[in-house]
């Protein structure tokens, strides 16, 4: 009896793989089961192969494993691609009536279901995937009725007839397996009374933005950040906001900047190539002290790299990118729920410190769906801090003796008063040129130094005022320390459990703040070995931490385009710990 079930559907792009997978994931989530999904765009064989994978359990799941129990294969390639994950207890559902002769290894249970014919009987061949879902329900002991709600959600907009046909299609799949096979694979998916929500990182970022009062969004489509825009469109309007699909990223960030100067909470999101294009304006945002949230959902680079693949390669770009020296904040959610909360925080930092804030997520976070209790996103806990945004009657306090507004007043904490259009006497000019307190261009050496120091002082203030903490798990007394950022946390949590079983205790620190960031010097000092885990080739975070702590670290880097898996991480950590400690 396996508590933890791994299911997948695969076929050609355009076969409706994603939406079918999502229907099943939603049904499982409605049945009170935890779900963790992943999308597979295979790199071993070029072409349109795509798969949607679900790992489900009654316990929380937060990573992928190398095991597949039930596979719905719409093509031979789907079987070939997943051969190494199939095992003796696995079953493959396929349609023997379709024109290919499925080659399935003997030890794997082949379940031939006339998906297309049954779908046609139910009202249309297009529903063949849903027939497969019904068959999968039968194989896993999961009541097909749980699919109903998910089908209503997916097809409700197309009318009740379509919904009914789909429900029927699912039942036809179930009945077919029931009548033609006498199988007991040992799966019986338990259900619970929990009502989970199922969402991915992009959606969590969008939802966080709405909760935080974001009213304007401008973006240009790019994988894997587009979902943020697609989520916001149609929702932001309910709050009086607006989304613009800009003509390019240069425009997107400049529009977002304009809206922010108008006083709106404003955001843009993009991925690597778009971040490059935004770099020039990024400097302007900082110099003009405009509050702005910029989301970078990392994918494999450089250049157009591997657009549908995982990587954490933009740390340096977000941390150092742009000419000149740019004070900035960089937050990097490590889990999907953090995508929500860190976005909320980002808006507060942006306004409190009148500065650009990067939210750096990665593809694995962005496209992965995971179940959470609804309370995870407790809207009552959302607090909005608009910082030094003045009330109308406070403007007067900030005028110089000639009645001019000191928009860039060099205050002790580096934070200036902020007036927005419409405020009487607050009119002022802001510019990317070096400027004085009034926002006027200057090349005066003293003023230059004063303003550079003033802007940098905001960072010092933020370092002192905010908790740039980290999350810790594993064995807190362990001699060895593993450090990670971004989406690796989920896999690491499971890896730690595996390592514990093998008597290899490690302490893990997962860091959601790249700048400002926690000082890990003491933790590093106390550890025998420090290993930094990240999805890039050079170890960008490892470099930063070595610089911070003046201590050498070991590195685990993965840059295949595929995220870490728990078992793989456990192995690599064990191996790394055996390696010679690098010279100090």
């Amino acid at each position: 009896m396996t508590e933890d079930l791994n299911w997948a559907i695969g076929g050609e792009a355009g076969d409706g793989i994603d939406s079918t997978g999502k229907i099943f994931a939603q049904a499982l989530s409605r049945a009170g089961r935890h779900v963790f999904t992943s999308k597979d765009f295979a790199s071993r064989i070029r072409g349109g192969y795509t798969a949607y994978k679900i790992r489900t359990s009654t316990d929380r799941v937060q990573s992928v494993v190398d095991r597949l129990d039930i596979l719905v294969a719409l093509t031979q390639r789907t079987i070939d691609e997943n051969l190494d994950e199939l095992h003796e207890g696995s079953a493959v559902i396929y349609d023997g009536e379709r024109s290919w002769d499925a080659e399935i290894p003997d030890e794997i249970t082949a379940v031939d279901v006339p998906l297309k014919s049954l779908a046609e009987e139910a009202g249309g061949a297009i529903m063949l995937n849903v027939v497969a879902l019904g068959a999968a329900c039968e194989l896993t002991g999961f009541d097909v009725a749980y699919l109903d709600e998910a089908l209503e959600k997916r097809f409700g907009g197309k009318g009740s007839k379509i919904v009914d046909n789909n429900k029927d299609a699912a039942r036809k799949g179930r009945d077919y397996v029931q009548e033609n096979y006498d199988l007991d694979l040992g799966y019986a998916l338990e259900t619970t009374d929990e009502d989970y929500v199922l969402l991915n990182g992009d959606e969590a970022i969008g939802m966080g933005a709405l909760a935080a009062g974001c009213r304007f969004y401008a973006g240009y489509p790019i994988t894997p950040a587009t979902n943020v825009m697609e989520y916001l469109i149609g929702r932001i309007e309910q709050y009086g906001g607006h989304v613009v699909q800009a003509e390019d990223e240069l425009s997107a960030i400049n529009m977002a900047l304009g809206a922010a100067r108008g006083g709106a909470r404003s955001m843009t999101a993009t991925s690597g190539p778009g971040i490059d294009l935004m770099a020039e304006t990024f400097g302007l945002v900082a110099t003009s002290e405009t509050p702005l949230v910029i989301v970078d959902v990392m994918r494999s680079g450089p250049s157009t790299g591997m657009p549908t693949k995982q990587e954490q390669g933009d740390l340096n770009m977000t941390l150092y990118g742009g000419h000149g020296e740019i004070p900035r904040f960089v937050v990097a959610p490590t889990t999907i729920d953090e995508c929500f909360w860190k976005t909320v925080e980002a808006f507060n930092y942006a306004e409190k410190y009148q500065t650009p804030v990067y939210v750096v997520a990665d593809l694995a976070l962005a496209v992965t769906e995971q179940t959470f209790t609804p309370e995870t996103f407790d809207m009552d806990a959302v607090e909005i801090d608009r910082g030094n945004l003045l009330e109308d009657d406070q403007v007067a306090e900030w005028l110089d003796d000639q009645g001019r507004f000191r928009a860039h007043a060099a205050t002790e904490d580096g934070i200036s008063p902020r007036a927005i259009p419409g405020m009487t006497d607050g009119a002022h000019m802001s510019t990317g040129l070096e400027h004085d307190e009034l926002g006027r261009r200057t090349e005066d050496t003293e003023v230059r130094v004063e303003q550079v120091d003033k802007r940098n002082r905001k960072v010092e203030t933020a370092k002192a005022e905010e908790a740039w903490d980290y999350r810790e798990f594993g064995d807190e007394d362990a001699d060895d320390l593993v450090v990670s950022w971004g989406s690796n946390e989920g896999a690491l949590r499971e890896a730690v459990a595996l390592l514990e079983d093998d008597d290899v205790p490690v302490r893990v620190i997962s860091v959601p703040y790249i700048f400002p960031r926690p000082d890990l010097s003491e933790e590093f000092e106390a550890a025998d070995d420090v290993i930094v885990v990240e999805c890039n080739a050079t170890g960008q975070f490892a470099d930063v931490l070595e610089h911070d702590t003046l201590q050498r670290v070991k590195r685990i880097n993965k840059y295949t385009g595929v995220r870490f898996k728990a078992d793989e991480l456990a192995e690599e950590i064990t191996a790394k710990l055996k390696e010679e400690v690098p010279a100090q």
Binding site: N254, G258, R265, I384, P421
Partner: protein
């Protein structure tokens, strides 16, 4: 005309002395803009000026209002963002021909087709001024500059035609030194509901000895004195594509122009948000059940 308005045009003047070359057309362009803003009942506190980069872009420093001086070529997206967040605010964008038609050409097309309610003033001196005299997209093909020693041999961009092709709802041209007419035309652009585009002949006295005050004074034809119907698209096309003459006046105005924010229901002041998540925010979570 509301010349009895309480705001005087000098209220839009900052106390910073322009560093433009004496005689630069940008002085006249700016004065006309200030006058038009005052005449249309605006004041510095409800006006937002977005300036490009170039000699022309310095205008943001010499005028007084809420303003931003951005990066080269991106004035229009910034102005678009301001207007969306603040439909209650008067938005103006201003810059040079290099800023608007070269590095920013893409944005020009898109701001135009979006019909964002703003006024866009291009100080067209047919040269790059600030970088000291290179060819600009509106330079004549035979005009010799430091980067085109034998002339660019490429036809200049026709910004009015570009605007028309992009679906502009207001297209005009004026001459910086014809103070009254220039201010009048800008005023009409401000009052237009939608994207009011004005290409202003704003001579560079330092680097352009061809497109001079004398040249424009001698050659300009004012559409006000012609029998031109600005609401007639074909007639507009006629004068806009007529490259034999230099025109001043409003070439085209679409009477049915509906500005972007009205078309898309973007009418709220986006600066106002609650202290916490909006009241019905739990619905956002519920959607993921």
């Amino acid at each position: 005309m509301s010349s009895q308005s309480e705001v005087r045009f000098t209220d839009f003047k900052s106390d910073k002395q322009p560093t433009w070359c004496p005689g630069c057309g940008d002085f006249g362009t700016m004065n006309g803009m200030m006058k038009a803003l005052a005449n249309t009942g605006n004041d510095p506190d409800n006006t937002f000026l977005v300036a490009g980069i170039g000699c022309s872009g310095k205008i943001g420093t010499y005028m007084h209002s809420y303003a931003i001086h951005g990066v080269h070529g991106r004035a229009l997206p910034v102005a678009t963002g301001v207007k969306m967040a603040r439909p209650d605010i008067e938005v103006m964008a201003a810059g040079g021909d290099g800023d608007g038609y070269s590095i920013g050409a893409g944005h020009f097309v898109h701001a135009t087709r979006r019909n964002v309610d703003m006024t866009y003033v291009v100080m067209d001196n047919r040269i790059y001024g600030l970088t000291k005299g290179q060819a600009s997209p509106t330079s004549r093909s035979d005009f010799e500059t430091s980067t085109t020693p034998e002339g660019s041999q490429q036809p200049p961009v026709n910004p009015l035609a570009l605007a028309l092709a992009s679906g502009a709802t207001f297209i005009a041209q004026s001459f910086a030194s014809d103070a009254i007419r220039h201010a009048e035309i800008i005023e009409e652009a401000i009052e237009h509901d939608g994207f009011g585009f004005v290409n202003v002949f704003s001579p560079c006295v330092t680097f352009n000895d061809v497109d001079t005050y004398d040249y424009f004074r001698d050659s300009l034809v004012d559409l006000k004195e012609e029998d031109h119907d600005r609401h007639d698209y074909e007639a507009a096309k006629g004068v806009i594509l007529d490259t034999d003459k230099e025109y001043q006046g409003v070439m085209y105005q679409n009477e049915n122009s509906i500005p972007y924010h009205e078309q898309h229901g973007v009418t709220e002041n986006m600066a106002e948000i609650p202290d916490g998540a909006p009241e019905n925010a739990t619905d956002l979570v519920r959607e993921f059940y």
